[in-house]
């Protein structure tokens, strides 16, 4: 008889603890989730940019999701330089064709993949970008060539709405 009693007691306590733990978990989630991007931030997912005034060889920087996006109109020389590089030479192998669907226009997040600084234009050993924070060198396709950054600068999702407008996001 006493054995049965013990069993019932154990079941009761285990059930109480288990149900209580579920509740604690359910309470913690909203407190964590409130720090995630909220509905108004998520709604600002895309932006349209007018590129009609960008001269060859020049670039503009626009803000998208709080980060700078480089839009560069490359010269033929720069395109050739980017396309001549062999994949074996690259730390993060990606062809220029993959990165710039329209070779004249390079669109990428202007954020160094090392620790998030904004690289400088037309600087560094590869005629592309140079990050002043910790010395990462990027080429004319925005690929990492030298320095601590692990990957190439990220290409966001974008499309040409017409020949003068790019929609990012």
């Amino acid at each position: 008889m006493s054995e049965k009693k013990v069993e019932r007691r154990d079941f009761l306590f285990t059930a109480s603890y288990a149900v209580g733990a579920v509740g604690v978990g359910a309470v913690i989630w909203p407190l964590v989730d409130q720090m995630n991007p909220d509905a108004s931030v998520k709604a600002l997912a895309s932006t349209e940019v007018d590129i009609s005034s960008v001269e060859p060889g020049k670039s503009i920087t626009v803000l998208w999701r709080g980060k700078p996006v480089f839009i560069k109109r490359r010269t033929q020389e720069e395109i050739d330089e980017a396309r001549a590089v062999k994949l074996e030479e690259l730390k993060h192998p990606e062809t220029d064709e993959e990165r710039a669907k329209n070779p004249e226009w390079l669109v990428m997040l202007g954020v160094c993949t090392h620790l998030g600084c904004v690289p400088l234009n037309d600087k560094g050993d590869y005629n592309g970008w140079f990050c002043p924070c910790h010395g990462s060198h990027y080429d004319t396709s925005g690929r990492i060539r030298k320095g601590p950054a692990p990957t190439n600068m990220e290409v966001p999702r974008y499309e040409f709405v017409n020949s003068n407008t790019i929609k990012i996001g």
Binding site: L12, S16, V19, G20, A26, S40, A43, L44, D50
Partner: protein, 259 residues
Amino acid sequence: MKRIFRINYLFIFLSIGCFQVNAAEKVELLKTDWSFKGLFGKFDRASLQRGYQVYTEVCASCHSMKYLSYRNLSEKGGPEFSLEQAKAIAASFEITDGPNDDGEMFERPAKLSDKFLMPYANDKEAQAANGGAYPPDMSVLAKARSGGVDYIYSVLLGYEDPPSGVTLDEGVYYNKYMYGNNIKMAQPLSDGLVEYIDGTEATEEQMAKDVTTFLMWAAEPHLEARHKMGFKAILYLIILTVLVYFSMKKIWSRIESEV
């Protein structure tokens, strides 16, 4: 256990006290059956969509709704227009954006992420255009009036001729339910004022009910989620309370048998 019930009496007493405080000194408001009241209350989708139509065709020319965005119209628990419908609604409004690279403001069709178009540039303009009375923003109106939705519904239907002996200034109307009975807004609704897309007959009562429902949603967009979560939370608490109650009995039985 008895003692706990006494605690609950105290709580009930206190809350009844609050009701009385709020309910005192008012005329009896008109009542209608709101689908969103009660433990499982939900909004009537069709009514919300019609309510938006009344708001945008009738109220929006004077009353702003500055905390709402067009994206809200397609969000869960609201009127739930489809994404395409909401986009089309947004695009039908021209809003001012800018400055552009030349430093100039420009007009463009609204997007889902934009806030509802404001009828006036600022409060002063709103006042000047309405004989000195500022048409209140409607975003949280349903929570900002004691009596809530019943009060708004009643005011919408409460226009009548002033009783004999009462003279009104120009631009002032008599309303049975308005505080002080004087209102500067002309009667906004009349039978057939809007033509409902879904074919519902646009009687005065129907429009008042629809637009009030819409205002309640605007003020409390997460009401449905709140009701749903509340039911789960309370059910959970009751289960855990029962478990803990029996655990407590078990534990205390150890010493009660000793004594």
